[in-house]
Amino acid sequence: MAGRIVLVTGVTRVIGSCLAGRLAAHPAVDRVIGVDAALPEAAARARMGSADFARVDIRNPLVARVIEAAGVDTVVHASASSTPASSAARTMAKEMNVLGTMQLLAACQRSDSVRNLIVRSTGAVYGASSRDPAIFTEEMSARSVPSSGPGRDAIDIEAYVRGFGRRRPDVRIAVPRFAEIVGPTVVTPLTRYFGLSPAVPMVLGRDARLQFVHEHDAIGVLEHLALGDFAGTVNVAGDGTMTLAQAIHRAGRIPLPVPSVGLDPLSRVMRTLRLGGFSSGQVKLLAAGRVMDTTRLRERVGFAPKFTTVEAFDDFAAALRPVVTPEVVRRVEVRVAGTIGVRPLPDTPAIGAADRAADSVVDVLLADHDAFGGGDRAGAAAGYPGDTRPKLVGIDGHASGTPRRRRIR
């Protein structure tokens, strides 16, 4: 049997370009064609490796010609449900997400060669409300159906994909629903939100559970689904959960609880003063939180994420410049203890010898990271003073060492 011919959308973005590169290097794949409406930057082009690039807007019928001409058998719609880089691009994102998916599905329906379709979706389809069950399985649907935003788009996209599945039952369709993707390279509204400094606003009186998936695992799942034989919907998230306040603290920032009515004015003021922006809608969504069950991912798809939720977040947060480091907190604790005359308890053995040993492994592996051009994140290169640890920048198959910044007891 001849090798696969794969079409990957959204290759100007981190996930799409990395996936294209990974698939192109895979022995079972003959050819990878990355498409996007814009030209990929040098870093993205480097990540694509030996994959071809075709500048095609998926909203243009031209994409059908590409599929036909190349005899594409696997379409990975990696740009679907990808979050816009800024909230101003929201209308544009809807256009790209929903209408782009419709056009792409129309092209796939016409094609005789397409046998596999992977459409990226998001956990936002489950909505987020306080009346939700604690953990969503794939069979559950939203209790409070999102009326707008990425959740709404993803629900629409999934509906179109189901319609496509009815018309083309011969095509294997896999729809991964991703938790929020974080990592040292990806840039999303969420990573920007945690990048606010020194305080990160959150809704007063709310502290929701969050789940993250590392960019490395997200790409791994898409590759696994593209070349595997799983058909259906599957939740994708790192193991475990963390709360929003905990995440803000672990990023070395201070949570700033704001009454939900005050979020809109605050976000406007901060944007006007150029202190960094956040969307109040996004913060309110974070107030409810959402956790997905990943049993199907492990047992039916056969994919085990390498990063837990906390590890994924820590790996992302290591690229931020912390305001409050664990060392500072420890020093304050010791000083306060000294003032009131008590002996401080020992620190958790987190910043101990084990982590340093792990770092030396990372050191060796870091050699091939240069190929990724340092990643898209401007802050990644900066690092923070006093930190001699090398950063995990970029993604590839080898960089799966022990990426923890700190270890939970």
Partner: protein, 356 residues
């Protein structure tokens, strides 16, 4: 013994070592860097102790080199250890070094913030007595079904403290709460951190199948918000969803009867328009609230007894019994009857509501 160590300086190193031998066991081999300092008390300040290097605090701040056997430093007892523990807790809060499970249960927070004040209430205020703790298994799932009363759901908190502090395995009790609890700001996240979750079958079954102890109060607001005149009379038990959850996961049901909670806030009236306006299920009037304002929120010190009854098995009813309404209703009734009869028995045994 707590005061002694703090006030009196150690007369001789040998006697200090002897006293450490007692405490070191409890300290569990925790050690701090900078064990070169002669005594734990010296941390107070370099000024009073010229022998201690100036950088005492920074030497502690340096990455802790674990020396588990040497435990010379931890001679603190009582409130000193408590304070140090609180500081360490605050540090973990500030750095995010704690874990929550998929339901949001934060054991560190529960142990350090929630349980200590509740324990005082449990032991000193309500003088709670437990009966039948041996009916709660040491491991594996079980569904505790209890009566609900008291205007404010203090009975749920006390049941959780009972299982947490007085069961030999000190098990965590995962309670199922009403929608309203999780919608309310502050209360919602607080309830989640304590390990509680929304009363719905997927959550209950998930907890039970992972071997957790789950508690449910099927009377809900009807039980908590009933007038004092109806005390110790069980309200309706919902649709029996809790029985279905127990049957599907094959865990036993443990009937729990709580006597004493009815008297903490005797509800003699209900201002319904105010309740509607505020979105509460009821707005209570007690002999002290709202008459005495915030002071009226102090619960009356009734005497409590919590009895954990004999487990009622939910297996052996054949296949698909969980979908058979007849079986479900029968078990629901049996649980309800057991709790009602136990309540009457415990009431007789308790005697006066406030003495004893």
């Amino acid at each position: 013994m707590s005061g002694q160590d703090g006030v009196r300086p150690a007369p001789h190193p040998v006697s200090r070592v002897a006293s450490e031998a007692q405490t070191s066991e409890r300290d569990g081999g925790t050690a701090v860097a900078g064990t070169d300092a002669p005594s734990g008390r010296r941390v107070r300040g370099p000024r009073s102790a010229p022998g201690v290097p100036e950088g005492q605090s920074t030497s502690v701040a340096a990455p802790a080199v674990a020396v588990p056997a040497v435990d010379e430093e931890n001679t603190e007892t009582g409130w000193r250890r408590g304070l140090a523990g609180s500081l360490a807790f605050l540090r973990r809060r500030m750095t995010g070094e704690y874990q929550v499970d998929d339901f949001g249960y934060d054991a560190d927070f529960t142990d350090h913030v929630v349980v200590p004040p509740l324990k005082v209430l449990y032991e000193k205020w309500f003088r709670i007595e437990t009966v039948g703790m041996e009916n709660i298994p040491d491991t594996g799932g079980a569904l505790l079904v209890a009566n609900h009363s008291g205007t404010v759901a203090v009975d749920a908190l006390m049941t959780a403290v009972a299982v947490r502090e007085h069961h030999p395995m000190r098990r965590a009790l995962r309670m199922l709460g009403a929608d309203l609890v999780f919608q309310t700001p502050f209360l919602g996240p607080f309830a989640r951190k304590m390990g509680n979750t929304l009363a719905c079958n997927p959550d209950a079954e998930r907890l039970l199948s992972t071997g957790e102890l789950v508690a449910v109060f099927p009377e809900g607001f009807k039980g908590v918000g009933k007038p004092y005149s109806q005390r110790y009379r069980l309200q309706r038990f919902g649709r029996g969803g809790f029985v279905t959850a127990a049957m599907k996961t094959g865990v036993p049901i443990i009937p729990v009867s709580i006597v004493g909670a009815e008297e903490i806030y005797p509800m003699i009236g209900n201002i319904k328009p105010l309740a509607r306006a505020l979105g509460f299920p009821y707005f209570p009037v007690t002999p002290t609230f709202p008459l005495l304002g915030p002071l009226g929120m102090v619960p009356l010190p009734s005497k409590w007894i919590i009895e954990f009854g004999e487990p009622i098995p939910t297996t052996g009813f054949g296949d698909n019994a969980a979908d058979d309404p007849m079986v479900v209703f029968n078990i629901t009734d049996r649980v309800r009857e057991t709790i009602q009869q136990t309540l009457y028995r415990l009431l007789l045994r308790r005697g006066h509501p406030f003495l004893g």
